[in-house]
């Protein structure tokens, strides 16, 4: 049997840090990147006697996430304690939800080559993040930073509905995009505010039972997730083909070696001893409360895409790609307030901007320049101040050192040469140096014109106005 005889089954547990200003059970700020242990208080460091108070915004954000993913909302909110020892978990228990998650039975739709598919959401529940351990490799010490302890999280558990690494990637991108649209999480994977536990199993095609799954925890890049799933599925198939069996276990994905490693031995199987958290009173959500949140939900990616089709006459593909990222799509709309050329803005974002992001392995929210700067750059092209070739250089510059494109163009001396005298001078020089091209052109080889224009652009380092060059070469050649 070979790989083709197997079906891969994937389920994801997505952890998204909610972008509330304060932590879930205290008033400490949630802001990322502060000096270690500066955003802490008796509550989030679990001082004896300190008690949690639930941040109501967390409930609101989680309900939003549930509604945006077609979930039923549980109106009775109760918290549970999940007990385990680890130095980054100050209370030695995580306040989470167990038997009555806030949201359940939802779905999101993904699309692969035009084909739509529903991925089920089992549940979404609220919990708190743990702190962070900083390991010092030189002296073997580990230091605990509790700034992140108590940052609110939602855990979104999918059904095992995905059948390929690209399904998983599409699902995660869709989830990320929804969470960004409803503004409940900034979904910065590189900062760990969006991460996923990936469950993978394989089974023979047509089999009814699921295979034994393995879990890879805390994955925080699309690329690693795709690679890890492909690797792990292949590993499992090979084990099965060799007559072995899969152990249900937690694995660690190592990005450098491109392999998974076993993390815990089974005798350490955790018993979390979940039980109701007596320090927090249960809350009942009213129908009105849920209705109000429902009505306040912003435009979601799906409907924004539809709007782009009609409002800006973009193609299906372009509209979908643009709206995938709320950041990208917001940038698009903001740029349009300055520069009315929707097609041009979309093109720039989807071709050159996306290409550079790919090269730099950046996410759209890491784009360093503003919509205004992008719009101005496009306007410079539309006005003929610069050529689109120069536009590309300006864009590179915007990534490196973002500022007013006009200033960049001036500083770099990239202003397009549109002076007739100057253009003529270049044209005459190029013709003089390329007599063969004149012969070729006269012999009916139109390509020769393109070559000459190219030479002139080279000569002027891309600054010559290409339309004027074209026109003037034609005039001279046809004399």
């Amino acid at each position: 049997m070979s790989r083709e005889d197997y079906e891969i089954v994937i389920g994801l547990e997505v952890h998204a840090e909610l972008s509330t200003k304060t932590k879930i059970f205290c008033n400490c700020p949630t802001e990322f990147g502060a000096e270690p242990n500066t955003h802490i208080c008796p509550v989030c460091t679990a001082m004896p006697g300190a008690l949690p108070v639930l941040n109501e915004k967390v409930v609101e954000y989680a309900v939003k996430a549930g509604l945006a993913t077609n979930c039923e909302i549980e109106t009775f909110i109760k918290k549970n304690k999940k007990n385990y020892f680890y130095p980054d978990l100050p209370k030695s228990y995580q306040i989470s939800q167990f038997d009555r998650p806030l949201c359940k039975h939802g779905y999101v739709e993904i699309e692969e080559e035009g084909e739509k598919k529903k991925i089920g959401i089992t549940r979404i529940h609220i919990e708190e993040d743990a702190g962070k351990l900083n390991h010092n490799e030189f002296n073997g010490e580990s230091l605990v930073d509790l700034n992140r302890a108590g940052v609110p999280l939602i855990e979104i558990v999918s059904e095992p509905d995905m059948r390929s690494s690209s399904d998983a990637e599409n699902y995660l991108r869709k989830m990320k995009s929804i969470l960004e649209y409803i503004e409940v999480s900034d979904c910065k994977m590189q900062e760990g505010s969006l991460r996923a536990d990936v469950n993978v199993s394989v089974r023979k095609k047509g089999a009814k039972e699921f295979g034994t799954r393995t879990e890879m925890k805390n994955m925080n890049s699309f690329r690693s997730i795709v690679r890890a799933i492909d690797y792990e599925a292949q590993r499992q198939i090979e084990v099965l083909e060799d007559g072995g069996k899969i152990d249900q276990e937690t694995l660690r994905w190592d990005d450098v070696s491109g392999r998974t490693f076993s993390m815990r031995d089974k005798e350490d199987a955790q018993d979390y001893r979940y039980f109701p958290e007596p320090d927090l009173v249960a809350i009942r959500l009213s129908e009105e409360y849920i209705q109000t949140i429902k009505e306040s939900l912003p435009e979601l990616p799906e409907s924004r895409k539809e709007r782009y089709l009609t409002q800006y006459k973009l193609s299906q593909k372009d509209a979908k790609m643009l709206t995938n990222s709320k950041y990208m799509s917001d940038l698009f709309e903001q740029a349009l307030e300055i520069c009315k050329n929707a097609k041009a803005v979309a093109n720039w974002l989807l071709s050159d901007v996306s290409r550079i992001l790919n090269e730099k392995e950046m996410e759209p929210d890491q784009i360093p320049f503003t919509a205004e700067q992008l719009a101005k750059m496009i306007e410079l092209i539309d006005k003929g101040t610069i050529s689109s070739a120069i536009g590309k250089k300006v864009l590179e510059e915007l990534f490196e050192n973002p500022k007013d494109p006009e200033e960049i163009v001036k500083e770099k001396g990239w202003i397009q040469i549109s002076d007739e005298g100057a253009i003529k001078e270049v044209v005459m020089k190029i013709l003089e140096n390329n007599p063969q091209s004149i012969v070729d052109y006269k012999a009916g080889k139109d390509r020769a014109l393109g070559f000459l224009v190219g030479q002139a652009m080279k000569e002027t380092k891309g600054k010559a106005n290409p339309q004027m060059l074209n026109k003037m070469f034609l005039e001279e050649l046809n004399k």
């Binding site: 679990a46 004896p48 018993d271 007596p278 320090d279 009173v281």
Partner: protein
Amino acid sequence: MDITELTVHELRDKLKNNELTASDITKAYVDKIGQTEKDVQAFITTLTDEALEQAKQIDEKREKGEITNELAGIPIGIKDNICTKGVRTTCASKMLENFISPYDATVMEKINQEHMISLGKLNMDEFAMGASTEYSYFKKTRNPRNLKTVPGGSSGGSAAAVAANMVPWALGSDTGGSIRQPASFCGVVGLKPTYGLVSRYGLVAFASSLDQIGPITKDVEDAAILLNVIAGHDEKDTTSIKTEKKDYTKALKNDVKGLKIGIPKEYFGEGINEEVKQKLEQAIEKYKELGAEIEEFSLDIADYALATYYIIACAEASSNLGRFDGIRYGYRTKNFTNLKELFKNSRSEGFGAEVKRRIILGTYVLSSGYYDAYYKKAQQVRTLVKKEFDKAFAKYDVLLTPTSPTVAFEIGTKSNNPLEMYLADICTVSVNIAGLPGISIPCGTDSKGMPIGMQLIGNHFAEDTILNVAYAYEQATK
């Protein structure tokens, strides 16, 4: 006049009339501690120098009119599981031997707002687990009525300090009887408020759904006065209830005519000492004389209360005490080579035997495979206990029982027999399970002169009723 024999309301009046200053009062208590503490051993930390200094400042400010609080300058003792900023809070455990809280418990903020003066932190059973204060890591407190006997527990230091006149009153905490039982053993008044009346913020948690802070005082009026100070909703504790602020001293009407007192007969059955029973029966007669209606009834669910209590309390404790892991504060073992050993050895060395016993019990009842049979079942019984009490309070205004089946026992007689020690809570635990208020007041002594306590149980937030009923008895038997 021995100042330390006065009640707080008497001290308050003398302060008001300028018969006494805060310094006079504080000095008297500091002297008393100097004489008595070596015998009674009620304190883990004394703050005598600080208290004298504070008293001086309060007198000056009072003279200038900068402080007008009636209770300003009144000393108090604090059970050592209530967090006090800058003063160590040990929970009578090696685990927290050197722990200094970075914040004040909400009750301490209230005490400080009144400008009361803390004389120190009082001994207790380690993490409030025990009924004799013998499980303290530091010392064994003795009952001032007979130094060979225990003061009860876990708030034994608080009750003994009040009984020995080393503090005029004290704060204790009660999870299964830890205020009422020592009050009974030491012959003072102890009130456990309704769950949710007093903020638990800053009370080092033993069992979150059962713990309450409350007063231990010389008489009922003082209990009402101290309750006035500490009661009230706290945003930092979501289990504290938003209720209207009451003046509990107004409840002391000294009138029980027509009041219905229920006597649950299970509390007078097997295991209750004969002399205790007799005194309680005399008290019941007294209430009849005062015009109350007495009726015996059956509260048979009470038989299950103790088992239910120990399952729930230990389950919650096993989780609450997880934070003492040697990482951020508290005791850390020197004996470790990896993380697991750091956790294990810090906890094994830092906790005493009774605490470990309860953590193990609690961990067991929450474990998968046992949860349904123990924890879940206990929660179901808890609901039934509440319902039984609801039924009782549909008929009666208060319930009357002994506080403890016996008087104070001798030191060392039960400390090696955990089950027998647990039985000391048999009359008090169901009150915590149902979240009700209960008060223990002195009700005579046995033939050897040891105090006997009577417990009055009220409906939720009916502290005013039980205070009034307690007050009527106290006044009638003065």
